[in-house]
């Protein structure tokens, strides 16, 4: 929000572009993470992230230095995601290879879960709930999350609550099936059977 009036207008362009581009480079990891959380597919996520970068670069003059750059570009990405999902109607299911790359041996004591199961669970959620849950880990504050999602803060929290409930229901599995040992055997043979 700091004014840049002390800098001559004719000298601002190149230096601002360089600074903006540096900000773009720095945000790429988070942008990819957000995109991955939205669509669950590595290739599509990178396409979304790159498109967001292009849009942000094209709209850099509309960004006010000193304001929340992360929220600004996240909003660009999520808007593009929903445009692609609605117009193309080509929501790609979660990449089955992705869990293999991100799988970690979460502790099995105290209610540990497998990341692969969590990713599959995320894919079953409505996009808005998934988006809210993912943004919780983005470093944004509540009001910023609401700004990115273009909805009231109460709606954000409601989506998070419903998303977490649905995720927990998915992770717990059907009551009549011993889901945890079956998942462990199917997803990671190195995990001890419980």
């Amino acid at each position: 929000m700091m004014a840049t009036a002390e800098r001559p207008a004719e000298g601002r362009g190149a230096s601002n572009d360089a600074r903006f581009r540096a900000d773009l480079v720095a945000i790429v990891p988070s942008l990819r993470a957000f995109a991955r959380g939205l669509c669950g597919n590595r290739d599509l996520a990178d396409d979304l992230a790159q498109e967001a970068l292009v849009k942000a670069w094209a709209a850099r003059d509309s960004f006010t230095p000193g304001t929340n750059f992360r929220a600004w570009i996240f909003r660009i990405l999520r808007n593009h995601f929903y445009t692609v999902a609605v117009v193309a109607r080509r929501f790609v299911p979660y990449d089955p290879d992705v869990p293999a790359h991100t799988q970690h041996s979460m502790p099995t004591q105290g209610g540990g879960i497998l990341l692969a199961d969590l990713q599959r669970g995320l894919s079953t959620l409505p996009a808005e709930q998934r988006e809210a849950l993912v943004l919780m880990e983005s470093g944004l504050q509540w009001e910023e999350i609401a700004d990115v999602m273009d909805c009231p803060l109460g709606t954000v929290k409601s989506r998070i609550t419903r998303g977490r409930t649905a995720l927990k229901r998915y992770m717990d599995g059907p009551e009549d099936q011993p889901s945890r040992p079956a998942r462990a055997e199917r997803s990671d043979p190195s995990l001890p059977a419980t």
Binding site: P29, V54, T102, I113, L118, M136, E137, K168
Partner: protein, 75 residues
């Protein structure tokens, strides 16, 4: 005796449902929040393809290229 007196909180008490970024109450395990945090961190930590940002250069190059329509119209 004040041996068991709690220290004054420095700010509003944080509740698990009121803070993002998985900042749950101390001592309260949240496997889902931990898993979501891990998914985000893993995706952030993935190496960025070398040509990932080249698209910006291509956009600038495309904009810098003069259009041919005007030159073609001049016979």
């Amino acid at each position: 005796m004040d041996n068991h007196k709690r220290p004054e909180p420095s700010g509003p008490e944080l509740k698990a449902a009121d803070v993002p970024r998985g900042r749950t109450a101390p001592g309260k395990a949240d496997p889902i929040a931990d898993g979501l945090r891990r998914l985000w961190a893993d995706a952030e930590a993935e190496p960025i393809p070398d040509d990932f940002l080249d698209i910006l250069d291509r956009v600038d190059a495309a904009r810098a290229t003069p259009t041919n329509s005007q030159s073609e119209g001049q016979a």
